[in-house]
């Protein structure tokens, strides 16, 4: 699509997209600054959605439609909703961070930014067809896909077949995220109530803050009465009888 538009303006094909790019990048920077400056988490989540949408638009001008589509669907779509859901569990306002704690991160960001700027003079110029990234493996994929895989969308061919092992890894990453949610939150929101039990004699309560007091009391009773193996068996037993029953095993 964009290519057609550019084709229609033969006099200065690069300038028009260049202006668009600069405009979109400026917007991205502005949104990013706004996100950093904001306190209201709701506004931050919304602005992150905006950021993704602008980024998606920018990817379109870079002719990376697949990336743009993903960014729009994931960044602007689902993750905004998920962030909202997460935000509702937390505060609505972020607590201000004292300036003294911000120097470190600022230094890291500045150094990383300067390192990237240091590399800029030696980077291939924008859209250079002879740059290593454009001329080596990338071009070969274009030629080979038609012969070896015969799918019109080369991106799909690369993702699903040439680099299918990577995509498998990505699916596993998402699966791992799902497992994490399952383990830490539970699909019914019921995880995190379990307390680990010492299968012998608990020496002393650690200084760790635990959950509500009545819960700790009941688990410590369970701890006292559970010797050797099981641990589950003695829920009903009166706690005073078995103080310590773990023998050598």
């Amino acid at each position: 699509m964009i290519a057609n538009i550019i084709g229609a303006v033969p006099t200065s094909p690069l300038i028009s997209t260049l202006l668009l790019d600069i405009g979109l990048l400026t917007l991205l920077v502005m949104v990013a600054f706004a996100i950093v400056r904001m306190r209201s988490l709701f506004a931050i989540v919304m602005l992150q959605g905006v950021y993704s949408l602008v980024a998606a638009a920018w990817f379109v001008t870079l002719d990376a439609v697949d990336v743009a589509f993903t960014e729009a669907a994931v960044g602007a779509g689902v993750s905004t909703v998920l962030m909202l859901a997460a935000m509702l569990l937390a505060d609505r306002e972020s607590t201000p961070v004292p300036m003294s704690r911000q120097w470190g991160p600022l230094a890291v960001v500045l150094i990383a930014g300067m390192a990237m700027l240091y590399a800029v003079p030696d980077l291939p110029s924008y859209g250079d067809a002879n740059s290593p990234a454009n001329s080596y493996v990338g071009t070969d994929y274009l030629a080979r896909t038609a012969v070896e895989i015969d799918v019109p969308n080369v991106v799909t061919a690369v993702l699903a077949s040439y680099r299918g092992y990577d995509t498998f890894g990505e699916v596993v990453v998402i699966f791992a995220a799902g497992l994490g949610v399952l383990l830490l939150l539970g699909l019914d929101g019921n995880a995190g109530r379990f307390r680990a039990q010492v299968m012998g004699r608990k020496l002393s309560d650690t200084s760790a803050p635990t959950g509500s007091t009545d819960k700790t009391a009941s688990t410590s009773q369970r701890r006292k009465s559970s010797g050797g193996g099981g641990g589950k068996s003695s829920l009903g037993a009166p706690p005073s009888i078995t103080r310590y029953e773990g023998g050598a095993s």
Binding site: A112, A115, M116, Y118, A119, P121, D122, L123, P124, S131, P132, A133, N134, Y136, V137, G138, D140, S161, Y162, R163, G164, Y165, D166, F168, G169, E170, V172, V173, F175, A176, L179, G180, L182, L183, L184, A191, G192, F194, R195, A196, V198, M199, G200, R201, K202, L203, S204, T206, A208, P209, G211, R223, G229, G231, R243, Y244, G246, G247, A248, S249
Partner: protein, 504 residues
């Protein structure tokens, strides 16, 4: 068998990934998930040893995923550098999974044990995937697989101690920053070389004579990113919390493998993608990495001395030990690299065993603080004996694993003329004597606490816990006594991969 020798590499990665999906679906039958996970780990260990053997015969194995030849598809590449680490990770997975049955029963809710083991298998597969791959972006993918599952596993420690949640969050943030830095570095490398295959990158960079500023910046980002993952000294802040509060078996597995896999990647990128003959690589390794290594060794050994929590002590000690391995890189000779590599393997065995033993102590008596270890020599004699052996190994007492690698490192440093480094190794070993000695003193010379006037009775850890703990202790002695027979060869072969025509 023939099939296995060609496909063993892929089998070792794919089996735990697929079985993780199966384990997550298993019905909540007692011990079923554990049994399946353990079987998977055993199969993986068998596959890893087949890989090691095949590699010893062939020198190099390349497995083309999807049947696409290297620069186009992703290839797994095994040489003398990563085959031993693959086996190390698989073996530690078996050891921790044997230990896991009683530990998970006490620390994880019954109906979540399936997903828990699934996450553990993903972590194992992720680490192994990072180690075997020959593709720079694929490293990132498997780094994420192992990281995401690790964050979850660390947070599961909240069942024991709520501080696990903030520790996991801390690790999540720093780990993600590390992964981002790494992927930025890979991006710059792609801009410079136009390929993601490491072997390809190496030859292109060598042709470019180290490449332009882009390659330099890429190197910087990759070193910092991996530095975060391997807990290089000032970037180690996530580690003590994560090790202290995660479930006991997770700590043992992470301490013995996660930082090691990241360190392997540092080896891979510093020596076989980039080359120490490039000025900037040599400068970073000699001045920055060595400097940080030595500072970390001293500073974190001192910090370990002042901890009250036993697992935090060992965690700081881990950062110090990473310093030894980095020092091996900084020396930049075959002997130094071999010493560091040997220390990597030894430390994995020793620290894994120590954390397992501490886990058993928690399992029986809820012990986390050093002062609570009183009288353990009487209440848990076998565990304490194994703990002692492993502690000696960590200190570097003769005839233990730690001695072999520390001597190898010191010799390499001396051969380079770095006498100050020899001094640092000795000083930090003495510090290790003090911080491990504190635990020993409490365990041996204090009486067990009394409850209602009755002293604690002997209450040894269950057999499933004792098997890996004692096994690792024996292994550390075996390495100490016979280490120069097999492990030194492995380490030297690995070092020759890193510095092939070593003029350095």
């Amino acid at each position: 068998m023939d099939w296995l020798s060609t496909h063993a590499v892929a089998f070792a990665i794919v089996l735990p990934l697929l079985m993780a999906a199966v384990v997550a679906m298993l019905p909540n039958v007692k011990r079923l998930a554990w049994l399946v996970a353990l079987l998977v780990a055993v199969f993986v260990a068998v596959a890893a040893s087949v890989v090691l053997q095949t590699q010893a015969g062939l020198g190099e194995i390349i497995y083309e995923m999807g049947g696409w030849e290297p620069p186009y598809g992703i290839s797994l590449r095994i040489d003398a550098l990563n085959a031993p680490i693959l086996l190390l990770i698989a073996a530690m997975a078996v050891a921790t999974l044997i230990y896991a049955e009683p530990a998970v029963a006490s620390e994880v809710e019954g109906r979540r044990s399936g997903p828990f083991y699934a996450a553990f298998l993903l972590c194992v597969a992720g680490l192994m995937g990072m180690v075997v791959t020959g593709d720079a972006f694929n490293v990132f993918v498997f780094l994420e697989v192992s990281s995401i599952s690790t964050y979850t596993l660390v947070a599961m420690g909240a069942n024991r101690d709520r501080r696990a949640l903030s520790a996991a969050f801390n690790y999540l943030i720093l780990g993600s920053i590390g992964a981002t830095f790494f992927v930025i570095g890979v991006g710059f490398l792609y801009a410079e070389t136009g390929t993601l295959n490491m072997e390809d990158m190496r030859s292109i960079l060598a042709n470019l004579d180290g490449g332009s500023r882009v390659a330099q910046v890429a190197f910087g980002f990759i070193v910092v990113g991996l530095g975060l993952k391997l807990a290089m000294f000032p970037l180690h802040t996530w580690l003590p919390g994560a090790y202290a509060y995660s479930p006991t078996l997770v700590t043992a597995f992470l301490a013995s493998t996660a930082t090691k896999a990241a360190l392997y990647l540092l080896y891979r990128f510093c020596f076989t993608v980039f080359d120490p003959s490039f000025d900037y690589v040599a400068a970073v390794l000699t001045y920055i990495v060595t400097g940080l290594a030595v500072t970390g060794m001293i500073f974190c050994s001192l910090q370990a001395l002042f901890q009250t929590d036993a697992r935090r002590t060992l965690a700081f000690s881990s950062v110090a030990q990473v310093g030894y391995m980095l020092l091996g890189i900084g020396i930049l000779t075959v002997a130094g690299l071999a010493g560091g590599y040997l220390h990597l393997i030894n430390h994995a065995v020793v620290k894994g065993g120590l954390f397992l033993a501490l886990g058993a102590m928690w399992y029986r008596f809820g012990i986390t603080r050093i002062s609570d270890m009183a009288g353990l020599s009487k209440t848990m004699p076998i565990t304490t004996a194994a703990f002692t052996v492993l502690a000696f190994s960590l200190i570097g007492v003769p005839f233990t694993a730690g001695f072999v690698s520390k001597v190898a490192l010191a010799e390499a440093a001396a051969a380079k003329g770095w006498w100050w480094a020899v001094g640092v190794i000795m000083v930090t070993s003495i510090l290790a004597l003090f911080y491990m000695g504190r635990m020993m003193m409490v365990a041996y010379f204090r009486d067990p606490p009394t409850v209602d006037g009755v002293a604690w009775k002997r209450n040894e850890a269950p057999a499933l816990m004792l098997i890996p703990i004692v096994g690792l202790a024996i292994l550390s002695i075996l390495i100490g006594m016979r280490g120069n027979v097999f492990l030194t060869d492995i380490a030297e072969n690995a070092a020759w991969v890193m510095l092939p025509g070593s003029g350095l």
